[in-house]
Symmetry: D3
Subunit: 192 residues, 6 copies
């Protein structure tokens, strides 16, 4: 069977890309063992590629009050609400890896309300989902709920900004019909 | 009366900001005559600020098949669906200026379906609105409709990517309760 | 450029109209300086015209607990939820004029939740929006919330009845594709 | 058991009402055998009462392309979408009487799509429901569909205007918690 | 006039059915005086027929904390939300009979929130409606609300299971376009 | 860590159950290697248990035009729309096993519209989703679409009836907070 394409837009050959983008892609391949398709699907517009990954790094690699697992939970829960295959499958894998919980990716993807989460994380996802799906109703009372669960104002910004970035990311994935790499489906599924 | 704050998060003093951000802000002040609040509200996180405006420039300043007025229409129509005061008011002003039509900002903000638009622009906004509000239903048939109205595949990417960027931007504005500058309310309202 | 029509239904010539309707239209022209298109678009059915404006006068000119500005807020907020160009643009102008606040029309039209409003007016609009968009859920608890903010029972009736009248008005405007007069876009936009 | 009140607002005694309103109410009692509660619930605001019933008469008694049964169908179908007890129960009775079909009131109230209706009436109700529940999407294509089923432009106005009037009426009924007279539940239920 | 069919799928002749199904149908005819169409519409698949009515009997005939009238209320309210003609009309009749209240069927069908119900039954229907229309949001807090109104855990199961069975039943009725027997429209409409 | 409970209702010990239910549970344990939690969660009400599994067997084991993989697709897609963890996780596993496609479970769960499916199966799921989430709009045109893709009327019944059964099943799972067995998360994930 021929492999379905990874994007409905053209995907450039690696060696045609600007050197900084080639380098970034090689670095991720080295670290992860494969090139996640989002790098290839976005590379056809180098300036947008650079901005996207700069934004991604600024939020997802930032040291702060949220753990890596918290951040991935936000990504998976909001991307599931947008029914985004790439983001749910790829970040579901990262959530399993970072949380060391092989069930959490699917739990959060299907219905975060019944996932094995403490009340603080449930509140975090309630706020993220509201900003993702009904942003016009997000208000001061949502901020106060988060502060009441012990999040700092910087944490609140992180929760909101990650939700916002994946509002963008989910839509780019739907625009391009971006296909998750097969590797993501099984990563982190075994109890260690 | 005291002026309401421009963001519910802290706003740094200009002279505390990294030099490149100070420069960018001074440049816009010089060109526009005032500093749009989005620059101040986002400046507290310099890396995210840089990524946001790099993304913005990559799409909004890009030469291509869409006019500046087309791009602002997409921003206003999708931001209105998200009921985002900052984006509707600020980009409504830009839409009036670029289109030289003092009515178009409000028309597109209230109901783009009844605005004075040709069928090609109506199709452009139908696709943008679908991606903005029901991204899980956006598919190949939407792409084909756009191509059928004479848009190229690069135009389609622009339409989708601008919609995606403002899905992010609207949510950051709701997160921060970002307040539009008073100047935007009246810019471009007179027939030239 | 030819002016787009003010209605998708036929619009009678003024001198063909019954004398009482001609008089009413001349009176508004004298007072306002132009004839708002709603008068022309509805005039083709004189009995319905008379009933509509009798209802309008009974509510909008009635002395009571709501200010003229309060009433226009209800009209703008509920008409924005119905995306009604005529009502949002025309009554946005009236709201600017009556409130002497050049920003309030757009603020309430885009998202009344983030407009510069005290909690009492926010509660007034919450109730109006619920009755406008989910009337089947409106109940005694909504009445009690309004009374708790100091509204009298007559004020509650006014809030509900104005909302109801513009539920009608918005739909007539959509039915006829009623076009706002250009004058409304700029009225009341300057700080006095 | 004490009878529940017919409105959550005060209901004036008949002999306190202005003579023209007393006369109207006596006339309907004579004709119908009882006073439908809508007359009593709205009478506390005589000017609004007069405007409401003038509007009602202008549309519901008007000679034109729609039959009395067609008009009641529009009222029942749109009021059911708004879950309005008074309008569904009272006009369901009128629909049974005018159509001489004892099943039609309940059929249209529960789901007009599966009621025993010809395609022309199905199209009429499709348009009415769209204007009632998603007025912002109502447009020229809906008008054309109606014309294609043989409705005239005046019929289209009637369909839209009746829908609009009951958008008002349903909301006044929810505002007042208006109670249907018990008589309406059984009227017209027997095959003649 | 020819009678419309009772199902859009074929309906077997009674004497072609397995003996146990013939017996069940004859028993209901004897008791009720006519054969409710659901028996005929489902009989073409005997195993599914048997499972459906076994489930029905297990819940609807079970002795427990809910009265027969309570159970029918749940059926009518949730079926009305699904706009299911067969279930609303047939079980509306049963609700009138069991409650000895000729108004309750229509009240619950049109808008259970304004029906003549005590707070306990209102809470029962709130929970049933949530499980029927937004099952993903149903959670422990809904269980607690029911317990707080004096329902036992077995009652809660009954409320949820009846709602679940009619989620199935409503969809089978829409699938087959199942037609209510004319007898159901008038049963139980007279004050005894 | 203590294992979370498999249901929020009491779960009977196996040896307290009626013999036929014990046998059924032992049979599935023998065949599958573990007891799926749905058997335990429903066993507290033996008559409902028997009816549920009789219905399940009648549809899921029936020989007909739909393959086992087709049936599981319907279950996964409609259960995902209802955000039902038990059904999505357990039947996602069955879908992987029956289709011998380790990606299909997640693809259909996240967004069946972008899953690797031929147009016939896409149409099957479009119909199932409509009946699951907007049953009041399901009509003859949906039947015709399925027939146009080569489904027989018996296939249409199967598609609708499986959708209906899982409308019930999803709600019972939400009612009981039914927890998927850990085994289901990994079954069928390897390419054979």
């Amino acid at each position: 069977m021929t492999q379905p394409p990874i994007s409905r837009f053209s995907v450039p050959a690696l060696d045609e890309l600007p050197p900084d983008i080639q380098e970034r892609i090689e670095a991720v391949r080295e670290k992860t063992g494969f090139v996640p398709n989002v790098f290839l699907a976005l590379a056809r517009r180098p300036d947008e590629f650079r901005a996207f990954f700069a934004y991604y790094d600024a939020l997802m690699l930032r040291e702060g009050g949220l753990t890596k697992s918290d951040k991935e939970m936000i990504v998976v829960a909001t991307s599931a609400a947008n029914q985004c295959p790439y983001c749910v499958v790829a970040h579901g894998a990262l959530l399993r890896l970072f949380s060391k919980n092989p069930l959490l990716g699917d739990q959060v993807a299907v219905n975060y309300r019944s996932a094995d989460l403490d009340p603080r994380r449930r509140a975090m996802l309630d706020a993220a989902l509201k900003l993702a799906t009904a942003p016009q109703s997000f208000g001061e009372e949502d901020i106060q709920l988060l502060l009441g669960h012990g999040f700092t104002r910087e944490d609140v910004w992180d929760i909101g900004a990650i939700t916002s970035l994946f509002a963008l990311s989910n839509r780019m994935a739907h625009l391009t019909d971006m296909r998750p790499n097969e590797e993501f489906y099984t990563l982190g599924r075994n109890r260690s």
